[in-house]
């Protein structure tokens, strides 16, 4: 989860997010080099004794500052497009879960095998147990099996919402009357937090998403228990 004063991404919990992290590092290095270049040029311009008020053109410098940005853009675009297509790969999901946004909670439906559905409300601050995270914990987590390709169909019951889990590299708008599809694989077991990412009213900040990735046998146990409780 995020920690106070954090600037960077959360640790990746899915292969796609790992790739996004690496691409971000690459783009940041390019940005750093360009910033260094600009800083050096500024210092050089300030400190030079050479002045020529009558320069009209210079083919060499114009070629350089046309070709170089094009090369830089290609250097950034190629890995970016690679990830774009990677995210669109068909991954034959083992499980499909529907995430429905409401004002102001999420509900999840696991209807592949049995009719399992439940609501997920934020735990109010005054009801938190010691060690739980303020504004992030939910009473019912979306439990998923680890290392299984999953499909999430996201929609909304009332107004626009957005289902986002930064550690998994997933964000999908929840639009009323529309089913949006996203897919992910969790690389490791754990609990991953997200928050609604589209303004949806007074309690927009108070409808978190909690995904819990567990081994398959634990997922089977959990789903059996949930069905019994329903």
């Amino acid at each position: 989860m995020a920690h106070p004063l954090q600037l960077g991404f959360q640790d990746a919990a899915s292969p796609v997010m790992e790739e996004l992290l690496h691409f971000h590092d690459h783009a940041l290095m390019v940005v750093f080099l360009i910033s260094t270049l600009v800083l050096y040029i500024i210092l050089a311009m300030i400190s030079t004794k050479l002045t020529n008020k009558f320069i009209l053109d210079s083919q060499e410098i114009e070629i350089i500052w046309t070709v170089l940005p094009a090369v830089i853009l290609i250097l950034i675009a190629l890995p970016s497009l690679r990830i774009l297509y990677l995210m669109d790969e068909i991954n034959d999901p083992h499980l499909t879960i529907k995430a429905v946004g409401h004002q102001w909670y999420w509900s999840y439906e696991y209807t592949d095998y049995e009719d399992l559905g439940f609501d997920s409300y934020m735990i109010p601050t005054q009801d938190l147990a010691p060690g739980q995270f303020r504004l992030l914990e939910a009473d019912h987590r979306m439990v998923v099996p680890v290392e299984s390709p999953l499909r999430v169909l996201v929609t909304a019951e009332d107004v626009l919402h957005s289902w986002a889990v930064p550690a998994l590299g997933v964000k999908m708008d929840a639009v009323p009357g529309r089913l949006n599809q996203t897919a992910f694989i969790t690389s490791r077991p754990g609990i991953f937090y997200g928050q609604c990412s589209e303004i949806c009213g007074a309690n927009h900040s108070f409808m978190p998403i909690v995904v819990e990735a567990v081994p398959l046998e634990h997922f089977e146990t959990w789903s059996s228990l949930m069905l019994e409780d329903a």
């Binding site: 790992e18 590092d25 690459h26 940041l28 290095m29 750093f32 080099l33 270049l37 995270f133």
Partner: protein, 118 residues
């Protein structure tokens, strides 16, 4: 849970407030190689031409090229390692999942002997 962090991530010094050198793979090596390349290029140019200002420019160009080259080389190797790691992980998972079945990757079918559980 709060208060039970495994190991505190080092805060990471950010070059120009942008680049987290300690926590970004390959960045520290790239910057150090760049610094070395910059000093070498600038010094050699100055020794050859005795032009201070131009030597600084050459040194800076050396920094940019060496940093970029080292960065790209290290990241490519890193990416290849990640692919290999993922393939090994998938192989281990398949081995565990399919062990003893007809889809076991280690099964070599022999003539006359049944494969997999009867």
């Amino acid at each position: 849970m709060a208060g039970e962090e495994e190991e505190p991530k080092s805060k990471g010094f950010r070059l120009l407030g942008i680049l987290d050198v300690q926590n970004t793979p390959c960045s520290r090596d790239a910057i150090l190689h760049g610094a070395g390349g910059s000093v070498t290029a600038g010094l050699l140019h100055f020794l050859a031409t005795s032009r201070v200002r131009r030597s600084f420019d050459v040194g800076f160009a050396g920094f940019m090229l060496t940093t970029l080259g080292s960065w790209l080389y290290c990241r490519m190797n890193n990416a290849k390692l990640r692919v290999q790691q993922r393939m090994i992980q998938d192989g281990i998972k398949n081995q565990i999942v399919y062990e003893g079945t007809s889809r076991d990757p280690a099964n070599k079918p022999e003539a006359g002997t049944p494969s997999g559980p009867s």
